[in-house]
């Protein structure tokens, strides 16, 4: 039963972390605390942290047959990034 309670605590902590990250991101945008050149990267970094939390903790990506699950998501992510990159270049 202890192991299960641990899991529950972990879930709750991570949930709180996500909320806090969101609020920090929100605060950073509404204040001039970080220069606008760096800010996008900081915000994207926060987003990536949240995604990793979701994938690993909530979605059990590393459990059974984790390598297929990770391959699938990473492959999709790679192609998505490629697409976004070249579509963003069209702005120029």
């Amino acid at each position: 039963m202890k192991k299960e309670n641990d899991h529950l605590t972990k879930l709750s902590i991570m949930f709180v972390t996500m909320i806090i990250l969101t609020l920090i991101a929100f605060y950073l945008v509404s204040s001039d605390w970080i220069s606008t050149n760096v800010l996008p990267y900081v915000l994207l970094f926060f987003a990536v942290i949240q995604v990793v939390i979701q994938l690993v903790l909530f979605m059990d990506i590393k459990e059974k047959e984790g390598r297929y699950r990770i391959t699938s998501v990473v492959g999709g992510g790679f192609i998505a990034l490629l697409t976004i990159f070249f579509l963003a270049l069209l702005k120029m």
């Binding site: 297929y68 492959g75 999709g76 192609i79 490629l82 697409t83 070249f86 270049l89």
Partner: protein, 649 residues
């Protein structure tokens, strides 16, 4: 009544002809089905969840589409046979419809599903599985493909076919320049078919990962299975990109977004999205063919595939690089030079894994004992044709030279060399090779050879001159060309070649008819004179519904061949007989497909109640499916034993 007559008077004669033949075909098939009391038989196929039957239906339906698009190709060639020709009604607008639907149908509704169909039959047999992972979803994929296919095909007689090329570049494909339902059919029809394709691909992936027979490690899988695994991964990603592109076009045409318009948005977005899908698609339809050829060449040379490991890695590398080259379709749109050279390099790099495969095939034959049966002939024809198409591909990768080739007949020649050379030859090779496995009868060898030679010679006569036409300055998708540019005789040769190909296809159909009608059953597991190497040849032809009475235990990459070498008739089945659970057939996929069809018509013609009705049907069937838990039936052990001990056949 007068107005209806008036309407028919305004129709072009080709559409009237299509209408009439549609009516005749409907009446004739209804009559025949009723006369021979075959409605139940038809229904048992429609609702089947057996991967072999679904595969055969895939093959059948896409072959019908192949005939349609092939007929269009002949019409195109007739219009272009002479300079300044005016054949029937196919000039200008109607010629654009011809080329657009020819391309769309051939790529989406012929090449892709033909291979999926063949692999649907073969992959589970090759890995020693009783069915695919999701038999229900398999049937659903089929019916979504058929619905999408019907939609694209019916556009011809209901409102006009797509007419902006198979690539449907914006802004030409937008409402502003092509009003009416024509180019709305394209995104919606392909969306439905594409959805089915993605499901099918996921099905293959899970089947191959999870349903292999005990002992069949990844590196023991036959090449057909390997290539289908990689192809399925490509489909999952590439068709998703296509889905977004199509969604975007749908929004542009139906809901008034302005993302692709030249004034408020950027039409190049379409080109990027389309080719992010479009280039991997080329490998989606080439890789399974490579797999088929690997198996066929190895079988008919009596040799183990040369460099198996490097073949597998070549496939993976091609799949990966396939996603990195799409901008070579856009070299002339004026992106900056850095982007162009990057994609030129990746394009050329693809030649390396492809070269690995070609040489491995050649060296598989070395030291073997080669028989020239029809499947092997197609494989050999493929090597010649595909190498030629491949080298022009490298030439096209050279950016500045591509400024000359781009959108000219040189490209038309190249793409037909690659796609017909790989996919169509591959499917024909595979169909000849596995026909006895699917139907228990050998296709006639003599007609097969006639089929091969007419088709291949016709092919080279049709497409080789196109290289030269392109270099002479003939742009693609033109319905006419002036006299005095020297293009006349080349085009005429090309047209003659196209008719020779048509004869080839006719002989193929004749072969199927004669074989089905008069052919003898083969009665053997391995009808290719003890040359079979892989698991599909260890079971009866045609296989029982459950494929393997006992699960085979695999100890090498070519279990059957190893058994032959040890002077045995078949591999040892070591597993126990047991009750076999079979998925029950279901009519839901059919109804879901039809609901999608109804909804699609609603969307195309913007009849919103019809669209809503159709979508409701879709969700209803999905909900019903969600509540179905236990389904399927059991074949008792004693029946399985009875059949397997050789009493049944």
């Amino acid at each position: 009544m007068d107005s209806i007559l008036q309407y028919f008077r305004t129709l072009p004669s080709d559409i009237i002809l299509a209408d009439i033949s549609l009516v005749i075909i409907t009446i004739a098939s209804t009559f025949l089905l009723t006369k021979y009391k075959k409605w139940n038989w038809l229904w048992s196929w429609i609702t089947s969840t057996d991967h072999k039957k679904i595969g055969i239906m895939y093959l059948f339906v896409s072959f019908l589409f192949f005939l349609r698009a092939g007929l269009e190709a002949l019409l195109i060639r007739m219009q272009l046979a002479f300079p300044e020709n005016e054949f029937w009604v196919f000039q200008g607008e109607r010629f654009n419809q011809l080329t657009s639907t020819h391309g769309t149908v051939m790529i989406f509704l012929v090449a892709t599903p033909l291979l999926i169909g063949l692999m649907n039959v073969i992959v589970p047999l090759q890995i020693g599985a009783r069915d695919v992972a999701f038999p229900f979803m398999n049937s659903l994929s089929l019916w979504l493909f058929i619905s999408g296919g019907i939609l694209i095909n019916v556009s011809f007689i209901a409102g006009g076919s797509p007419n902006a090329g198979w690539t449907t570049y914006a802004p030409l494909s937008l409402k502003e320049f092509t009003p009416g339902p024509s180019n709305t059919y394209y995104p919606i029809g392909l969306q439905v078919a594409g959805l089915g394709t993605i499901m099918g691909a996921i099905n293959f992936i899970v089947t191959i990962i999870k349903m292999r027979a005990p002992g069949m490690k990844f590196m023991r899988m036959p090449l057909s299975t390997w290539s289908m695994l990689i192809t399925s991964v490509l489909i999952v990603y590439a068709f998703s990109a296509l889905a977004v592109a199509l969604l975007l076009l749908t929004f542009e045409r139906l809901f008034g977004t302005v993302i692709l318009s030249s004034s408020a948005g950027n039409p190049l977005i379409w080109q990027h999205l389309f080719w992010i899908f479009g280039h991997p698609e080329v490998y989606i339809i080439a890789l399974p063919a490579f797999g088929i050829f690997s198996d066929v060449i190895s079988t008919f040379s009596k040799k183990k595939l040369f460099g198996y490991t490097s073949m597998v890695f070549a496939i993976i590398l091609i799949g990966f690089l396939g996603f990195m080259v799409w901008v070579h379709h856009m070299f002339t749109v004026g992106l900056n030079a850095n982007i162009n050279v990057f994609f030129a390099l990746t394009t050329m790099l693809i030649a390396i894994p492809t070269g690995i495969k070609i040489f491995n095939w050649l060296f598989t034959m070395r030291g073997g004992s080669i028989r020239f049966d029809t499947p092997m002939l197609y494989a050999l024809g493929f090597i010649v044709t595909f190498v030629m198409g491949g080298v022009t591909g490298v030439m096209l990768g050279s950016v500045p030279a591509d400024y000359q080739y781009h959108d000219s007949y040189f490209v038309v020649a190249h793409l037909h060399y690659v796609i017909i050379g790989a996919t169509i030859f591959g499917v024909l090779s595979g169909v000849y090779y596995w026909w006895p496995k699917m139907f228990g009868k050998m296709l006639n060898e003599k007609l097969g050879k006639w089929n091969f030679w007419t088709f291949v010679i016709g092919f080279h006569f049709t497409f080789f001159p196109m290289h030269i036409m392109g270099l002479m300055g003939m742009p693609r998708r033109v319905f006419t060309y002036p006299e005095g540019e020297g293009l006349g005789w080349l085009n005429f040769v090309s047209t003659c070649g196209a008719f020779l190909m048509g004869i080839g296809v006719f002989i193929f159909m004749l072969n199927i008819y004669i074989t089905t009608r008069y052919g003898k059953s083969v009665q053997l597991n391995d009808p290719w004179m003890k040359r079979g190497r892989t698991l599909e040849w260890t079971i009866p032809s045609p296989p029982p519904p459950y494929n393997f009475a006992r699960t085979p235990i695999v100890t090498s990459g070519e279990p059957l061949w190893n058994a032959y070498e040890n002077r045995k008739e078949n591999i040892e089945f070591e597993g126990e007989y047991e009750d076999i659970h079979m998925p029950s057939s279901s009519s839901l996929p059919f109804f879901m497909g039809m609901a999608f069809l109804i909804a699609s018509f609603g969307f195309v013609f913007q009849i919103w109640w019809l669209a809503t009705l159709g979508m409701l049907g879709v969700f209803m069937t999905m909900a019903i499916r969600s509540f179905q838990n236990k389904n399927g039936y059991s074949i008792p052990k004693k029946n399985v034993i009875y059949h397997d001990k050789g009493v049944g056949y």
